[in-house]
């Protein structure tokens, strides 16, 4: 275990030296440990997308330092191809990027570009498709344009997974999906992190998602990290939530309201089960043990 991504005082200005210049990052400090699942939250325009584009070298630091797996991104001789294989970046609405006629071919694009032997490519495509929740045998010869939105997104995800990245970066992975696909995709992402030991970094506006997936949360505002901590620390602190106008998961909202009514509940209990246990604890008189998670 070690630090896999380290960002120090990163600044980035779009259209620098023009009257339309816009500073997107204003001194970002952040570090991500290997094997972590990290969420980046913040309002539109707070610099989240600009930040994550630094992780695989799509943008190079204008000021400050970014180190990914020991490599300095300011190094002019940096192996960009290698870096992009190491850090897989899935853009917002990745289904737009499919271009091959057949699903299998599209997933194979990355591995083929790496110059791998055909058998290895096939193995990777099979693995990536199964990981993304697509049956290799049933789906590889389907035309990409005839898929549903959720399936297209899985294909795009598989296309990045086929690079076998160490770090997976996702920009609003569940935006625009129906609740079922959303839940399934979240389960998959959790699997990449827990079972495949991938480091996962994701951007999200959905606090339920953040609460149930992330080990750590970074809150961004105006191009800076303004708060960081475990979900418990972030959602458990009313000041942080109010100051940065972050929405809280519904569980936390309910607990805050109960606390406001004068009951002693732990507002940091954001998970569904522990929030339920908190509510049960005030419903039952002291000393009586509840049997397992109620409700």
């Amino acid at each position: 275990m070690g630090t896999v991504i380290e960002v120090e005082d990163l600044r980035y200005t779009y259209m620098e030296n023009t009257p339309l210049a816009h500073q997107a990052l204003a001194g970002v400090q952040l570090s991500v440990e290997e094997g972590e699942c990290v969420a980046i939250i913040g309002h539109t325009g707070s610099g989240k997308s600009t930040l994550i584009q630094h992780f695989n070298g799509l943008l190079r630091p204008q000021q400050g330092r970014v180190r990914v797996d020991g490599q300095d991104l300011s190094d002019p001789g940096l192996d960009l191809k290698g870096l992009r294989r190491k850090v897989g970046l899935v853009f917002q609405n990745p289904e737009d990027q499919l271009f091959e006629k057949w699903v299998g071919d599209d997933v194979a694009f990355g591995p083929l570009k790496m110059g791998l032997p055909l058998k290895e490519v096939r193995d990777r495509v099979r693995w990536a498709m199964e990981m993304a929740g697509l049956s290799f045998e049933a789906m590889k010869d389907r035309p990409t344009y005839a898929l549903s939105g959720g399936q297209k997104r899985k294909v795009a995800l598989a296309g990045v997974l086929a690079l076998r990245p160490k770090v997976l970066v996702l920009d609003e992975p569940t935006a625009g999906l129906d609740p079922r696909s959303r839940k399934e995709l979240l389960g998959r992402i959790e699997g990449f992190n827990r079972r495949e030991k991938m480091t996962v970094i994701f951007v999200s506006h959905n606090m339920e998602e953040v609460a149930c997936l992330a080990d750590r949360i970074f809150v961004m505002a105006a191009g800076q990290i303004v708060a960081q901590g475990t979900p418990r620390e972030i959602f458990g602190s009313r000041e942080v939530l109010l100051q940065h106008r972050i929405g809280a998961p519904e569980t936390v909202e309910i607990l805050y309201r109960i606390q406001g009514l004068g009951y002693p509940v732990d507002v940091g209990a954001y998970e569904l089960d522990s929030a339920a246990a908190e509510i049960v604890s005030i419903l039952r008189p002291q000393g009586v043990k509840s049997h397992g998670p109620g409700i």
Binding site: M15, L58, L89, Q97
Partner: protein, 280 residues
């Protein structure tokens, strides 16, 4: 290197710099007319003196509209190869036609005279002046204003059954989507680069390979464009758009005294350029 994906910065078509200057506030119709007249005058003016005056005047226009001259220069940059090629061709082969003045060099077909030299320099200057003047126009006028201005200037053509409104609608939509597709393309290039795609590798004579490298961008971009077009159609129909209908406009342009004065000034300036016998 950090700039490799910043596409939007390189697109100057439809770029509008709102500085709120005098030039910005002019009636777009007047601006279009004035720009047209000025370009005509530039095309007819073939003395060094006149062209230097126009060049100074177009720099003054930048100053007046509070737009950095750098923007005009960045418009000239992509035209430099054309200007150079044109200049070389004129220099080498126009000696016969512009045969007046002193002969500097005569070698077979190649004749360089003082008149052909003047032609070369003047046409390069004209090129730059026209780019400057039209840059001021597009940088100080939003695309909506431009197309509305164009539409009302073209209105008389409607009597000849020319579809003026449809024409300007097509222009508006086309211009409106240039930055949108530039952004879309930037995103696509980044997304494909993230999956290991490479662009522009190999020398230019590997045309086939270089074209194939663009497929992962072109195919999705086409699909996105089609989808956007369909959305646009739906949105227009949902608002009961009917082609050929008469419609009023939220913003109507009122030509003021100031606009008239500007037009008069440009007219006089252009006439002067055209008629005045500059000594050089």
């Amino acid at each position: 290197m950090a700039r490799e994906f910043e596409l939007t910065r390189n697109i100057t078509v439809g770029q509008y710099l709102p500085t709120g200057s005098f030039v910005h506030r002019l009636d777009p119709r007047i601006k279009l007319l004035a720009c047209g007249i000025l370009i005509l005058a530039i095309a007819f003016c073939n003395s060094y003196g006149g062209n230097l005056i126009v060049l100074a005047f177009s720099c003054l226009l930048f100053r007046l509209s509070r737009i950095p001259l750098r923007y005009g220069l960045s418009g000239v940059k992509p035209a430099i190869p054309f200007i150079v090629i044109l200049a070389v061709l004129q220099l080498l082969f126009y000696g016969d036609i512009a045969s007046g003045g002193r002969v500097y060099l005569e070698y077979g077909l190649i004749v360089i005279t003082s008149d052909s030299l003047r032609l070369v320099i003047v046409s390069a200057l004209r090129f730059i002046e026209i780019i400057f003047v039209s840059s001021v126009l597009t940088l100080s006028t939003s695309t909506t204003q431009l197309t509305h201005g164009m539409e009302s200037l073209l209105k008389p053509l409607g009597y000849l059954k020319f579809p003026v409104h449809e024409f300007s609608l097509i222009m508006t939509i086309a211009l409106r989507f240039v930055p949108t597709f530039a952004m879309e393309m930037e995103k696509m290039i980044k997304a494909q680069a993230s999956r290991g795609a490479e662009f522009g590798t190999g020398s230019w004579w590997h045309i086939f390979r270089r074209t194939k490298e663009m497929l992962p961008i072109i195919v999705p971009l086409f699909r996105v464009a089609m989808e956007r077009a369909e959305d646009l159609i739906l949105a227009m129909e949902a608002r009961c758009y009917t082609p050929g209908g008469t419609r009023s406009r939220f913003r109507t342009y009122q030509t003021t005294f100031r606009d008239g004065l500007t037009l008069l000034f440009i007219l006089c300036f252009s006439l002067l350029l055209w008629m005045y016998p500059f000594p050089y």
